[in-house]
Symmetry: D2
Subunit: 148 residues, 4 copies
């Protein structure tokens, strides 16, 4: 059977979001811990756009985070509207890597990266690395211009 | 067999805590959403003092929160040391109710209450009310002076 | 000059939102502390719809939270889409009270209330109650069917 | 007057902490966003041990975060007791860099790094880089064995 082009692969997502009051700190700017959450929100939206949930209720496959980096250039404040542009930078046998750029009013606020692993969870809570299942891998591809 | 006094029952706990930077908001004061977390931290410390975990890894018994109230009188700020005094106000067949007083420097910051239910979780995630197991109920008692 | 009807008053808002992964706890359900944040998100959206920010960058008027209640009936889970329907239940000289209903798939998840005060902040961080400024009060009215 | 050695310089801190319920996610493990908060808690404790607050109420000097990295090796779960060992890896004219190791039961859970800048805030909220004030710089020194 020939491969078809009926199912497009997904490689990036642009999440638009407004800063909530509780995300900003006494300095009046978004606390840096929120950027990892913004990145993950964009990741999960990318998966949903690909027809997937990253954490279905009954799955024993999970995607723990194994590495993260962030550089912060400008602050975000309460009610600022910003964009998180996530791109798939690499797809390995049992891992994936994303990069992201956070912008506000056309200016770069932060850049980041996130590496996730694919694991199978035992009933005792242990996790061991497994290949990314085909029905997941087949929905994604590396973005053309993902920065390292 | 006679009941013994060998195992004291627990009815209250005083948690001492310092405000973290990320808990304060752009107004410079602890965001009100944190008080429900402070109350829960005190609850879990009370359970630990009674020799219990409220959420053991392998248990199908859980204690979801069913009601909460808070009144806020004074603000807390970054690095303030405060106390959360939790007391058991009522123990029902399948529920418990706590009250708490949050103080800082001898002054009342907030008062609150929390009601939890005892449920059994099915493999499909459903929950139905069950009596509090005896090995848990027997470790607690209502505090003498718990305010309503 | 006659009063005009050009500026409608606002009394309620319906916020639609999806549960983020980091909002759910080891029991697989949204941690109860998030409901106070959902309520506040809806409040701030109501103010924006009324052409206002509840915390402008340069204002010495602030609206600290003075009381909150919540009753929880059903759980929310990762990726659930839910609605927070906030209504103004009372407007006093120096305070306002909201009620809210959180629903998911047509079913009631939680109900809550929130009372806020209007204060003026001194340069030393102190706060004292002041009447709600007219340019704010004039944008809001009590909702017709707000439950107590 | 001769300089004295009466005031020791500080270069590291070991924070001991227990995982709160609300820090763990539906996978039953601490959500990765919390590690940046754990690191910051250790940083602020290091500053307090050095007799300083990183964010005094009335200061126009602030220390925004400009870069962060984390590698995650093992999960933390509810009620786990863990340690965050933070060390000063570099002190520049207007910036500092920390590294940290998070351990649990003698095993490495995560490693991370954090770079902060020293800025002066204008009344309009703008920030520009300034040298770290001497009364702060003089309290700290680079740790002997800080890993890069």
């Amino acid at each position: 059977m020939m491969p078809t082009t009926a199912t497009p692969r997904h490689s990036e997502y642009r999440l638009r979001r407004r800063v909530h009051f509780y995300e900003a700190d006494p300095a009046g700017i978004v606390h840096f811990s929120w950027f990892s959450r913004y990145l993950e929100e964009a990741e999960h939206a990318l998966w949903r756009e690909a027809g997937l949930s990253i954490a279905p209720l009954t799955s024993d496959i999970a995607f723990p985070r194994v590495a993260m980096t962030f550089d912060f250039r400008r602050p975000l404040r309460f009610e600022d509207e910003f964009e998180v542009h996530i791109r798939i930078a690499a797809i390995g046998r049992a891992s994936m890597r994303y990069t992201c750029v956070v912008t506000h009013g056309g200016q770069e606020v932060a850049t980041g990266s996130l590496t996730i692993a694919c694991v199978q969870r035992g009933v005792d809570g242990t996790m061991h690395a497994v290949p990314i299942p085909d029905h997941i891998r087949s929905r994604f591809e590396v973005a053309a211009e993902a920065s390292a």
